[in-house]
């Protein structure tokens, strides 16, 4: 039980709970307490110092929107944002309740009456924006991975293909998402014309921009991982006369999984960073648009609300990275490798 729990914590990167578990299991409590201070105490102390510096520093800067918010104002605003979300959900519930009540009355009066439910068109709350952002980055990242991993594998196996596409990759890689955006916007509005779009156009635009920017780390890392496979392992495959597909499935992919995941992690990080910029400009409902709207809004609470968004962006980025790290550890054959 204890060992399983520790394994799970180490797998998910929550190593700072390991001493707690060991201490509760009565395993060398003094040593575990020391570890605990080291692993939880020190980061906590650093966090406190950071908050203090923030508090002091923020008070000294006065902008046209008032004082730069300190930790307390930001905390208050985050509560306000949560309350707004709950209020909006409550309104939505009441809206549908009213409709159903009315429909029921009409049906009672006339069983043949045509009834329908109108969709709720309230404004997006902060939580909704977060969800849209996550959805967008996920779609963009997924598209990028589906393209980058196969190309990376094939070009890692063929030196010729790699030399052919390498200059292209090197040129496309450093392009800023902001430069892609106008082109992608025009192309999407030219090609994505349907009567009943499944996704809004701005969503497609942002997702594609995310894809364009998060392709490269996965592609390059996969290619490098594949081309640096132990020659002997490939030779074993040759002796066994495995065909191309079997070689890829049985030898190439398993042995380059760690590198592929390193690329995926970098890609997801970049995708998340790019997304905010893309949303700001493409007006895709999401965290980027939230920040931009608040900035345009310019009320006395705007800066605090933006700060909340900034911290949420950071926190979610951290969580996404942890999820990738855990997946990497689960799929990698070398469980003992230290991955940071």
């Amino acid at each position: 039980m204890k060992d399983k729990l520790i394994y799970f914590l180490e797998l998910t990167g929550m190593t700072w709970f390991v001493p707690v578990v060991r201490m509760l299991a009565g395993e060398a409590p003094l040593k575990q307490a020391q570890l605990l201070v080291q692993m939880i105490g020190l980061p906590l102390l650093a966090m406190l110092i950071f908050l203090m510096l923030w508090h002091i520093g923020a008070a000294k800067v006065i902008t046209s929107l008032g004082q730069v918010p300190g930790p307390t104002q930001v905390w208050e605003q985050s509560m306000v944002l949560l309350d707004e979300h709950r209020a909006e959900r409550e309104r939505e519930r009441q809206f549908y309740e009213r409709q159903e009540l009315r429909n029921a009355e009409r049906l009672a009066a006339d069983p043949d009456a045509e009834v329908r439910i109108r969709p709720f068109t309230g404004r997006d709350t902060f939580i909704d924006q977060v969800q849209t952002s996550l959805k967008t980055v996920f779609v963009g990242f997924l598209l990028a991975s589906l393209i980058a991993i196969p190309i990376g594998i094939v070009s890692g196996l063929s030196q010729n293909l790699y030399s052919a596409i390498n200059p292209l990759i090197q040129i496309l890689k450093p392009i800023s998402p902001l430069a892609w955006l106008p082109i992608v916007t025009m192309v999407v509005s030219a090609l994505y014309v349907t009567e009943d779009p499944m996704f809004s156009r701005s969503f497609v635009t942002s997702a594609i921009v995310v894809m364009l920017c998060s392709l490269w780390p996965t592609l390059i890392n996969t290619a490098v991982g594949v081309s640096s496979i132990d020659r002997d392992l490939i030779n074993v495959g040759r002796v066994l006369r495995l065909n191309y597909l079997t070689t890829v499935l049985k030898i190439v992919i398993p042995s380059s999984i760690p590198m592929i995941f390193t690329g995926l992690r970098i890609s997801l990080g970049i995708g998340w960073m790019v997304l905010i910029a893309a949303e700001m400009l493409s007006q895709n409902p999401g965290l980027g648009k939230f920040v931009w709207d608040e900035f345009q809004n310019g009320s006395s609470t705007s800066l605090s609300r933006i700060m909340v968004a900034v911290l949420v962006i950071g926190g979610l980025g951290f969580v996404l990275d942890r999820i990738m790290l855990t997946l990497q550890k689960v799929f990698s054959y070398d469980k003992t490798a230290i991955i940071r």
């Binding site: 030779n235 040759r238 066994l240 398993p254």
Partner: protein
């Protein structure tokens, strides 16, 4: 009658910045069925290259390799290789490593039960059944090499190629594995080519010792027939006159006539 395995005027050039580099020149070697042949020489003399050509991993520039009357110029399971660093797939257990080989070589003519039996039989042969579900990272170097040998044997090769199979092991483990190999050899009577730089290993295991001259353009310097009765016992042989005679022949060849000019 033609030999079982015949290396006929084999030469190989490697391209370098200063033109072709002739690594092997005119290597002629005939090996009979069931013979255990060691190739010995200083490092860099091209003995691994010989093995890679027989294994089909390299192509000879001139000449060729004929196995049972057929030329071989690509890798295949009829010439299974035991690699120096074992080359086990680190994400597969010992059992799965052997199983992958069995399935791809003889999966079409064995049903599931027969595959399992054959994998286990080969693991049994190298005394590794107790660790069959362990990953390579969880077992010692000597054990990994045992599994590597089991994998090669499971392909039922016509010729077993071993590239310094015990080179990376400590002396005691090496002795254990040599004994195991002799035991397996007495049972299966495989045709084996083993690359080695260990004189004792060569004399103890081989029917024939092929001594290579130094490169560039290395070739076979001398072939020594080892006529010691089998089964051979390490301890008894230590004081055996005949054994020591063979041993000193090899040492003289390596360190007198073909000593390396630079260390």
């Amino acid at each position: 009658m033609d030999a079982y395995l015949n290396l006929d005027h084999v030469s190989i050039d490697f391209p370098t910045a200063n033109g072709a580099f002739r690594a092997l020149d005119n290597v002629n070697l005939k090996i009979n069925k069931g013979e255990f042949v060691s190739i010995i020489g200083h490092s860099g003399c091209g003995k691994s290259t010989v093995m890679n050509i027989v294994g089909g991993l390299y192509q000879a520039t001139e000449g060729g390799v004929v196995l049972q009357g057929k030329e071989v110029n690509e890798p295949g399971p009829d010439r299974a290789i035991v690699f120096q660093n074992h080359a086990l797939f680190p994400w597969l257990t010992c059992y799965q490593n052997v199983e992958l080989a069995v399935k791809s070589v003889s999966g079409h003519r064995r049903n599931r039960k027969q595959i399992r039996e054959w994998v286990e039989h080969n693991l049994e042969l190298v005394h590794m059944m107790h660790a069959k579900d362990k990953l390579p990272s969880e077992i010692s170097g000597g054990m990994k090499q045992r599994v590597g040998i089991a994998r090669a044997l499971s392909m039922e090769p016509k010729v077993l190629l071993m590239d310094e199979p015990f080179g990376a092991l400590d002396a005691l483990t090496r002795a254990h594995l040599q004994d195991s190999l002799m035991e397996i050899q007495s049972e299966l009577n495989n045709t084996v080519i083993m690359i080695t730089h260990d004189v004792d290993e060569a004399v103890l295991l081989s029917d024939k010792i092929v001594m290579m001259t130094n490169g560039p353009a290395a070739t076979i310097g001398e072939i020594l027939e080892v006529n010691l009765p089998r089964p051979r016992k390490r301890l008894e042989l230590a004081d055996d006159q005949q054994y020591n005679h063979y041993r000193s022949e090899v040492i003289h060849f390596l360190h007198e006539r073909h000593a390396r000019k630079v260390a």
